[in-house]
């Protein structure tokens, strides 16, 4: 934590970085600060246009920094050209050199560094083994599948042992099965190489699966940085709650003194409230798997919040039932119910919904605009 210690000096430090493209009035990246530890797997997650790719491009040096600075191991690299930053980059569309064989593609960065021939051969072979492409060394990129091409791109970006590996939606062009497979390979490479990985994606599952930490980007700012479980269980903003996974939101007004969220006619227990939220419009966000369904309120745990609802639909998705809910004020919700236990209600019937207040997150409501959705439907 001490910025002067040796530990803090290693790693990547983003200090108040902004990017304003010429001809635009809103910054694409707005005063972002972030410390990325040595060897960490950091993911920039956000919708398109949230600034995550621009941030990555500034790290790589493709895009100039309008304000702030970027330091790598204590050295300011903000003004350095891309090839002076000692970073590896993997692009969504691979950007392999189509006229060079797999071996020559991977050897390219080593040749630029005037590495001796014998060592180039050794390291290229090692790296191709790392990505399981040893048998494809003499192929041209055009003769490989999309997944294989992306593995060549990975090999090419790590063969010269750069300070960090930056990846811009590297799996975006692949189909789902290949994506899962490459995710596992990227995770394995991260373990084996111990290198800092910075990964840009708009896919929450990818982010949750791979990352040590995730930075959620929205409108050029970082909404929240944290471990995947923290972000999922304890979102600090409605945006993070909505973007990562599915949830049901109960809107109301926070009463810090009473420790409750007033929500229509209901008072929801809300322990450990942030003082800043007092008397503000707040939303209690609950994940589907935390909502329990009961026939009536007799079996609800005394300490738990509960509220009545109508079941709107039940969808069987294999490992569970997804139960659509509608509350008295019209708010929609989503609960997941284990396949083994009997369903307490059928569509059209009433049901009681309960949850442990420790599993809810109270976040500030959107700027109060009427357009803000009352609850978050599946996959929002």
């Amino acid at each position: 934590m001490n910025p002067n210690s040796q530990e803090a000096a290693r790693g990547i430090r983003i200090k108040g970085v902004s990017k304003l493209y010429t001809g635009t009035s809103h910054p694409a990246v707005d005063e972002v600060s972030l410390d990325i530890a040595d060897g960490e797997f950091m993911t920039f997650l956000g919708p398109s246009g949230s600034g995550k790719t621009t941030m990555l491009s500034m790290l790589a040096g493709f895009v100039s920094v309008s304000a702030g600075s970027i330091e790598i191991d204590g050295r300011d690299v903000s003004r350095l050209k891309p090839h002076k930053r000692d970073l590896g980059v993997v692009f969504q569309q691979y950007a392999l050199f189509p006229h060079l064989s797999v071996t020559k593609n991977v050897a390219f960065p080593l040749q630029q560094r005037k590495t001796p021939k014998a060592e180039i051969a050794r390291r290229v072979a090692e790296t191709l083994d790392l990505v399981h492409l040893g048998d494809y060394a003499d192929r041209l990129p055009g003769q490989l599948s999309g997944g294989q091409q992306q593995r060549v791109a990975l090999a090419r970006a790590v063969v010269y042992e750069p300070r960090a590996l930056l990846m811009d939606e590297p799996l975006g062009a692949l189909d789902k099965r290949l994506r899962d497979q490459l995710q596992r390979e990227i995770a394995r490479m991260h373990r084996e190489l111990g290198m800092t990985f910075i990964f840009v994606t708009h896919d929450q599952h990818e982010a949750l699966t791979l990352s040590d930490r995730i930075a959620v980007f929205n409108e050029g700012r970082i909404e929240q940085v944290g471990k995947p479980a923290d972000l999922y269980e304890r979102p600090e903003t409605l945006f993070v709650a909505e973007f990562l996974g599915e949830s049901t939101g109960f809107r109301g007004t926070v009463d810090k003194a009473a420790g409750i969220l007033r929500c229509g006619g209901h008072e929801l227990r809300a322990p450990r409230l942030d003082p800043e939220l007092d008397r503000c419009a707040g939303v209690a966000v609950v994940r589907p798997e935390r909502l329990k369904l009961h026939v009536d309120d007799t079996e609800v745990h005394a300490e738990h919040n509960h509220i009545g609802a109508t079941v709107t639909e039940i969808v069987y998705v294999g490992d569970r039932h997804q139960v659509g809910l509608r509350f008295a004020d019209g708010t929609k919700g989503l609960a997941s119910h284990p396949v083994g236990s009997p369903l307490p209600a059928m569509p059209g019937e009433g049901v009681t919904v309960s949850w442990d207040p420790r599993h809810q997150a109270i976040v500030r409501d959107h700027a109060g605009g009427p357009a803000a959705p009352a609850a978050v439907p599946a996959g929002a």
Binding site: F62, L87, V89, A95, F97, F108, Q112
Partner: protein, 277 residues
Amino acid sequence: MTEATETREREPVKAQRDGGIGWGLRTAVGLTALLLIAPTVVVIPMSFSGATTFEFPPKSWSLRWYKSFFGSEKWMYALLTSVQIGLLVAVAATILGVAVALGLTRSRFRGRGAVRQLMMAPMIMPGIVVAIAIYGVFIRWQLNGTAIGFVIAHTVLALPFVVTAVSTSLAGYDRTQDIAAATLGATAWTTFFRITVPQVLPGVLSGFAFAFVTSLDEVVVALFLQTPDIQTLPVQMYNSITLEIDPTIAAASSVMVVATTLVLLVPQLVRRERRTR
């Protein structure tokens, strides 16, 4: 009953899709192919004729027209003139055309669409109008009958081909590669020569070949610009039909057919070689 009709109707559809094309279509394609090939093929046997007329098919065979072609100072001079002009045109048109293609594909400026159309104009304007127009100003500028006049006129006509060929290969070039090369430690020069040039070269080569052939083969403008002192091979061929009825043209035609085919085929083969390597 219903079943039977259904199968009967479905059968031919299936057969047609699996087995390619039917006999009627096959015949039509064959005849069209014959029409396309015939004139080219006819030229070759004709050049080995032993007769002094344009009799076809030849009744006797000899190499006399080749001897007459390669032995004639007039024909050889025309051939040499054409090749020299063609090479100069190819070089000039390639340099200018590559620059245009770079300008059109690698930057955005007002009037880009207009410039693109401008470049294509020499292809679509009636040849005879272009010919008398250039002839008209070249008389005043004293450029007709000069090598530089031929080179300029043919470069104008060849430019569209180079621009098209090079633009196509530049458009297919993924510029993320430049950025990728930069992150991998390459300088702008290294990137240009090791990454860009090898990929764009086939397009440039075929532009060069097209420009050369365009000049080598051009007659209409050349007919107007010719003087007794400077005549290109196609002009000499034209004159040998209209003025002299000299069967040496048969040998000249064969040489032209083989030469243009080779020149145009080589870049294609280079390209295929690269693709399948």
